[in-house]
Assembly symmetry: C2
Homo-oligomer: 352 residues x 2
Amino acid sequence: MAHVAIVGAGVMGTALAWPLSDNGHRISLVGTPLDREIIDEARSRHRHPKLGRELPPGVTAYHTEELAAAIEDADLIVSGVNSWGVDWIADALAESLKRGRDVIGVTKGFRSDDAGEIEIFPRVLAGQAPASIREHSNFMAVGGPCIAGELAGRRQSCVVFAAEEKEAAERVARLFRTGYYHIWPSADLWGLELAVALKNAYVLGVGMANGMLEAAGGADHAGAVMHNPAAATFAQALYEMEQILTALNGTPAHAHGLPGAGDQYVTAMGGRTLRLGTLIGRGYRYSQAREMMAGETLETVAIIESMSRVYPRLRKQGVLRDDELPLIETLIAAITRDEVVTLPWERYFASM
Amino acid sequence: MAHVAIVGAGVMGTALAWPLSDNGHRISLVGTPLDREIIDEARSRHRHPKLGRELPPGVTAYHTEELAAAIEDADLIVSGVNSWGVDWIADALAESLKRGRDVIGVTKGFRSDDAGEIEIFPRVLAGQAPASIREHSNFMAVGGPCIAGELAGRRQSCVVFAAEEKEAAERVARLFRTGYYHIWPSADLWGLELAVALKNAYVLGVGMANGMLEAAGGADHAGAVMHNPAAATFAQALYEMEQILTALNGTPAHAHGLPGAGDQYVTAMGGRTLRLGTLIGRGYRYSQAREMMAGETLETVAIIESMSRVYPRLRKQGVLRDDELPLIETLIAAITRDEVVTLPWERYFASM
């Protein structure tokens, strides 16, 4: 039996409590400063308001100021924050990391600096640990098609746990594996983080097909909707993702495995990214769509902004061919230049 | 301006009349013996009953007994039959093929003999032409995510036209290309036909996740459905398809391009294959599900039956690794041995 501390009480981090609990582990669920209401309800009613479920046995909830004590003897830390919480958690865990600790994160992927150099989130955390400790700690990530509410509902879910050494990923996977939570270990942490982030960017494009349908007034008199354009964009996304992974030395197969195609499929079934894409596909500028979705966290925007710096860098270095990535170009134009955009069919599959 | 004869007045063959008509071509739509009612309505009301639409300008409809005269001076023949109509159309076109003719088919893929040797449908047609003619004719195929009703509704659609020579595919593509119908030419006719058929087989697996949801009584109290299992199966399907394409010397990238992932996405949005999969996922045997869907054409069944002969042959030849294709094994067990099956999560992604 292990003690696992989940830091960040959003839906995805918290959902990991179910397989852990079913395996008999002890779980400390620690809120960020933004999670006060969630932790209050977890304490008073043993319930997670956003998941709409009673928490499983073995979960104890802590407010953010109790973090140090709550994670003191944890065998493993789960980072449950989103892209905007990465610096906060890196600071919050700094003391703990100095004593060595395995950390696995559910945050989607990476960010980039002004020069377009990529930093994947597990490395941001690792950066807080002294070099002497870093060798004994593992900074890992989860990727794959896993809607949090389904995992918490014990629906069959298949994911990848990646670390820089496959054995470390496998060791941690053993804490989580159940009859409904299936885990493949991978040594390509870098490629996994790229894929899980990129698929989130690309679903914006798939959503644009929905928006085109709305702009056209919905199904026509014979019932035709727009699955064809969504599907073509889905395939173009995989095509571009594979090229970006190749250019960045990630495993190209992630593009059409669980972290790429699988997660892209599930993300295209609904949610915020799809809704933002729908608004942009209807013809709204991002600045307008952003207002219509005020208050919602949109990780796809952070990823596309990062790609707006990474993409020119890769082209300058000559590792991406010209005109091969019209979809990401379109998404960058929509998000960072606030342009009205349409899907660039004619430029899809340039090298086919 | 060309004269194109579409033989077989089902929804997909007929839908190709829209881009042809928009490009100003003359179209002869010729029914099979099963298409009498469709042709009657096309003649009396210039309308296609199953598409629910008025036919576009330039289309003349003919009953099956008028075939020879209708296609006499056609520049191109479109084969619009399904898997069960391939022998019929090969016979029907035999005379015409003796005089040389380009033919492009929308039929999904291939069939196999008792020894598990594959025959793709364009070759079945080519087999009817004398060798001297065959060199001057091109036998081609269409693949990619294209719901017929959407193409007829002029929705944006992206497909691949494949021939044994890319130039031939490109030449024919020029007749069809419009602002909404985007066509990529390919020289891998063999691989395209494998992919378009296989994706149809695999959507049965994706449908099984729907059936599991129904068996569980639908969404649970917190609203969790089963997109996670569908998405994992979607990714496993691409993984298996890529291996089968590799083993059979087809372009592996078709598995995650338009003919594979793209078409699989659109097929998973609804339709007969998905419904059959849903019934099997609910726990029905194929024989029961078959009765519940009496009268419906199920091409996925023909493809899985073919694969039940191809798969053992490939394993015997050692070109497929053991245990790498649990999903197709499961589908074969369901369809050809009438077994009650569940999705084999534990065996997914064996070599990952």
